[in-house]
């Protein structure tokens, strides 16, 4: 489950007395306040991570073809260090969900996401992965963020390769903004089978059709 803003603020508070007691075994780094040494280390680690994000192409539909086109000769993901497609989640950094996610596939993407080791990020490529797209029906998950946490949403149907590249650049920027001093960013939040990642009320609210779509018989 995500942290409330209050809890997040608490975790990042410089005064260690305000933070909840760390369980035994946590490293000393998490209790060090950010200083020039951690920023140098962060810069180095984040530079390495952002420039060699190995993508896990979870390609389902049309966006997968645009993803392949992005990886191919004209647009070339290799310039960003991403040409090494990690088809095994164990070796991947970024899960790029390219395409629509039906309900039958939802436990699969959750499992793939859980199998990825930290640090890991998720790019939701396309309108269907971000919100369900044009498929507001019985079969489609209305946005993969109901199932896995998402870092960057790339809109488009399908997004142009340049659009995906922009999303990747945004992700790189996000990666460069991370810090090793805050361990909570890289915590695993497993979801018990049969339970939800975000509250049910929130899923219903996000999936709610709006505008004319509230009428089933209208298209948009």
């Amino acid at each position: 489950m995500g942290l409330t803003p209050a809890e997040t603020a608490l975790k990042q508070a410089p005064d260690s007395a305000l933070r909840p007691a760390q369980p035994a075994g946590r490293s000393v780094v998490s209790q060090v306040s950010p200083n020039w040494l951690t920023t140098r280390l962060d810069f180095l680690v984040n530079w390495a991570r952002s420039n060699s994000l190995w993508p896990m192409p979870f390609g389902t539909a049309c966006c997968a073809i645009e993803f392949m086109a992005t990886a191919a000769g004209r647009f070339d993901l290799s310039r960003f260090g991403m040409e090494r497609m990690a088809f095994s989640p164990r070796q991947a950094d970024v899960l790029i969900c390219a395409g629509r996610l039906p309900f039958k596939l939802a436990p699969i993407i959750r499992r793939i996401y859980d199998q990825m080791p930290q640090p890991k990020w998720v790019i939701s490529m396309g309108a269907c992965a971000s919100s369900g797209g044009i498929f507001d029906n019985y079969a489609m998950v209305q946005g993969i963020d109901t199932v896995v946490p998402v870092d960057v949403y790339v809109p488009g149907c399908p997004p142009r390769p340049e659009g995906l590249l922009y999303g990747i650049l945004l992700l790189q920027k996000k990666v460069r903004g991370e810090t090793l001093a805050d361990r909570s960013i890289r915590e695993e939040h497993p979801v018990a089978p049969g339970s939800l990642r975000i509250p049910a009320r929130l899923i219903d609210e996000l999936s709610e059709p709006f505008g004319n779509s509230i009428h089933q018989t209208r298209s948009a």
């Binding site: 309900f103 039958k104 939802a106 436990p107 699969i108 959750r110 499992r111 507001d136 029906n137 019985y138 079969a139 998950v141 209305q142 109901t146 199932v147 979801v191 089978p193 049969g194 339970s195 939800l196 049910a200 009320r201 899923i203 219903d204 996000l206 999936s207 059709p209 089933q216």
Partner: protein, 210 residues
Amino acid sequence: MNPSVEALRREFGDAIGVAFTSCGQSIVYVDRHRVRDALGWLKVTPGQSYDYLVDVTAVEYRDPERPIEVVYIVRSLARRAELRVKAELAKDEPLEIDSVVSLWRGADWLEREVYDMFGITFRDHPDLRRILMWETYAEGYPLRKDFPLRGRFSRAEQVRQAMSASTEAQYSLEELSIYEAYHDLPMDMRERLARGARGAIPDPPVPDDE
């Protein structure tokens, strides 16, 4: 009108119902209990030789009084002729019809899809189970007109049910090597397999002297 319709009427008499053309294509209604015989006759009779099954599907109309129709589109490759055969299934009776897998193996998955989307059972089908939705899908048969576009459950409930579906437990009996030994299996295991569960490791037996 395709001359095969007349030939069918001569051969099967009363089992053949209305026939008409729509947009230049011939459609003939056949009694649901004789459909497999009629299609088999169309397939093997020289002069008809509809050796190619194009499609098996079903149609439910918006008018609730009209029965559901199972549609077979057959084609004769050599004669370049096509015929659409329909069978009506009244909604107040169980939706069952004979399977044509014995005639065309291509009908296997097509009939499974009709079962998945409409709930029509095909008798004698070797492996009738859902193909597009997962096997424990509880909301119903999606292409029926009383099934709403967005499904019957709330979105959160749909996500929850989807996430609870076990990703492994989709084996049918036909897949497992125990298919031939089905009758030797104990009853509870047969039930578990029928439900789609992969089985549980039983608890160790409690010793009597404790």
